[in-house]
Symmetry: C2
Subunit: 473 residues, 2 copies
């Protein structure tokens, strides 16, 4: 519970539109898009960085715990309050005024409360986009705070790579505004402070503005499904494609048989694209793209992809069992249906792992070999971004099984998978979802003591107030 006195004081700072204290109206801010339910003591909705600064300063001075919240589409309890009812949510959903497009600089200086889709809709007429390709539709501040990657990382990189500058409010007694909104691409005049706020779930400050790098929209695209001769052929395939297609290559996504089957089961409108209805053990969706329409005398991308696949087909290593070019829309539709598909196949226990690229298939093979003995009821429905090492390692247990309702079972399974991923394969326990309350135990477990000590020191000099769901120290 938040004292009435605080509610009044914060109302004076933010105005009527800037504060939500009625329990029914707060529900939207205490519930995550997919998981999570907490209880907000109060919701603040500043419209400007200055308002956010004043509100933050007030909260810090009065010892109120702040949870910054952006689109709230995250999957790790990074932006929802806990169950105490004592936390204050600071939502960025009204921070949508500034939208300054610089065409010459190919950059956008904007308030951090816009949704990704809003940004890209507004940019489309100029042939530009913010090149982070996600299933969800987060607001920018959250994308920066989790450093999202997505399906076209291979070509465009992550949010970190595409961020030129930010503005941050620190959780200190004055609500310091740190203006790091440079729009320069080359600038080496000290610590690049923005980097410590990117990917750290708002623990060190609240991002309220950003300057983003934009890329030219692709005007032409071709996609193919590749069926590797075996798991061992996946990396040679990727390496060939990178060598032969260079910067054309914009996605190289892996889909396991189980994940594809779950998607086809769940979405009847999807056509099974494989001959005779047979689903291969593993399929790769490969996409190439470029920013211009085909010119006279120039091959279209479908033809380029066909040519390259023919070259690879005929190569001695014979990495391909099957391959065919097809309509991008259809091929991506299946890929995008995987996530929903596996959710309907049973109770889903999801992992967002990453590995050195060469270890992805080895990890999955090891899991396939050991899972039946260790956890007989579990089906592995993995898919992921082979090109960047990310694996959405999804486990499904039957909904009516004991496993589906036994919290201890789930915990045991999680620990077992993470241990193998992190300890045996030097992988990451959070490739692109950051930490949040959900991954906190794994941060605590797998992070070196010295790193925690440094993080605690960083916290003390930036935002000593209670901020966010993660304890980095």
């Amino acid at each position: 519970m938040i004292d009435q006195e605080h509610i009044l004081a914060l109302g004076n700072i933010l105005g009527d539109k800037g504060i939500v204290s009625e329990p029914g109206a707060m529900v939207a801010y205490q519930t995550g898009a997919r998981y999570d339910e907490g209880l907000a003591g109060l919701v603040l909705r500043p419209a400007t960085t200055e308002e956010a600064s004043s509100a933050v300063a007030y909260c810090v001075r009065h010892g109120l715990s702040l949870i910054p919240q952006s689109g709230n589409t995250g999957l790790v309890s990074g932006s929802t309050p806990d169950a105490s009812g004592a936390q204050v949510v600071l939502s960025l959903d009204r921070m949508t005024r500034r939208f300054d497009l610089d065409l010459d600089n190919r950059s956008l200086h904007t308030d951090a409360g816009f949704r990704l889709s809003e940004v890209n809709q507004q940019l489309e007429a100029n042939g530009l986009f913010f090149p982070i390709d996600l299933g969800a539709d987060p607001r920018l501040a959250g994308m920066l705070s989790t450093n999202t990657g997505g399906s076209r990382f291979l070509k465009y990189g992550d949010v970190r790579r595409n961020t030129l500058g930010i503005k941050v409010v620190l959780a200190d007694e004055v609500g310091t505004i740190l203006d790091l909104t440079s729009d320069l691409r080359k600038n080496n005049t000290g610590v690049d402070w923005k980097q410590i706020f990117i990917g750290t779930s708002g623990a060190f400050g609240i991002i309220t503005e950003c300057v983003l790098n934009l890329e030219a929209l692709p005007r032409q695209m071709a996609t193919a499904y590749l069926v590797p001769s075996s798991g061992a052929h996946v990396m040679p395939l990727l390496r060939s494609m990178e060598q032969k297609l260079g910067a054309y290559l914009s996605a190289f996504e892996g889909m396991s048989k189980n994940a594809v089957a779950a998607a086809l089961d769940h979405v009847p409108s999807l056509r099974n694209p494989f001959q005779g209805g047979h689903i291969p053990d593993y399929v790769i969706l490969c996409e190439i793209s470029r920013t211009w329409e085909p010119r006279e005398g120039e091959q279209g991308l479908d033809a380029v992809l066909e040519t390259v696949l023919a070259e690879i087909w005929e190569s001695e290593a014979a990495p391909l069992a099957d391959a065919f070019v097809g309509p991008a829309h259809e091929m991506w539709a299946l890929r995008h249906a995987l996530s929903e598909g596996v959710k309907h196949a049973g109770k889903l226990i999801a992992f967002d792992l990453s590995f050195r690229r060469g270890d992805i298939m080895a990890f999955c093979d090891r899991m396939k070999a050991e899972m039946p003995g260790a956890f007989p009821d579990v089906t592995i429905c993995d898919f992921g971004h082979i090109g960047d090492g990310g694996v959405h390692f999804n486990l499904v247990v039957p909904k009516d099984s004991q496993a589906a309702t036994d919290a201890a079972f789930e915990q045991h399974l999680r620990d077992w998978v993470f241990n193998m991923a992190v300890r045996d394969f030097n992988g990451s326990f959070s490739a692109e979802h950051a930490i949040g309350r959900k991954n906190q135990p794994y941060y605590d477990l797998y992070t070196d003591g010295k790193i925690k000590e440094l993080a605690a020191g960083l916290k003390a000099i930036t935002s000593p107030g209670a901020l966010g769901t993660v304890r980095f120290g």
Copy 2:
């Protein structure tokens, strides 16, 4: 002077090969590649991270000031000792053991003492390279510590973008080794600590190992000189090229008439490529490249570039006064000769500035307009990386003029240029050379007080010992 006792103790730690104390042998370590001369009290040459750690711990415990030194090719006095003779240089020139290439991951885990050229020679057989294109040949640790950019930033980005992990020795009493050598591409499990060591001139720690992203070597390339109709047409030209050529575009370099003339004067073997020997006011060297050889039925890149230039030539905005495709080797030879050329044209006063891309020409125009009144003897010989906003803003004064020998004049001129670049144009006073002793006054002048306070805090929690030439606090 360093006490004999310290020299003996450090000799015991590092062995005979690991220590240089003879004045003549130390000269190479106290003299910069182009500028700088200091006096080393002692030179340490550890061969491993563990040796570096032990030596650093000793120095910190005994209050010795350490200057990390990599290739020593920098231009801002970032890696040479001061004139006191009391500083200890820690050279990375023996850190050249580990060289672990991961072809599947397209990454290289290596000791940080290799030179860029050595790395790329070793990678060539695998069709890969570390895609930072520089005039100098630094060692890796220095490239990371200054976050070098170079001429192909537009396509490949800077060192920061291409660094997956590092290992760092902190200047604390135990010489803490911070192992951040991840080879993961997607990993969001806390603060990305490597970022604070990149571009900060070794002030927060000594980089001893790194994991680098590699790119496929270009197999085909085409270049053209573009003469814009006016300065105002440069940005529309760049935007057209980016839209029409996408990721093919690998360089978009600007060369002023004065810089070109100086290069042609200085290097007689260079051919003046412009009709009638006339040098245009401003010339752009544009390069496109791709990773594959031309395939059957596919246009070569020369033809692609010709086609695109014809499209632009015919466009209504008429941004081009002239344009011609030519041999890449010749076209780059002139570009690469600019730096030496301007050095021979008189006494050189060089600036490494950057701007929002749209401000580059405006800044140069403003300088051209105001320089004659403010500093009549000065000739502007700018060139730079238009595609990323970097400008090598070079000023030349006649060698026999009073201006060439008057330190106060030079200081006044520097202050005047920096003031306009930073205050009037929100530019950077160091685009890709970082800080060092040379830019320290400008860091002190232009850096926000809160940022300095944060940097001092960061210094205290990472490397409290005396390390490097820069004071960030």
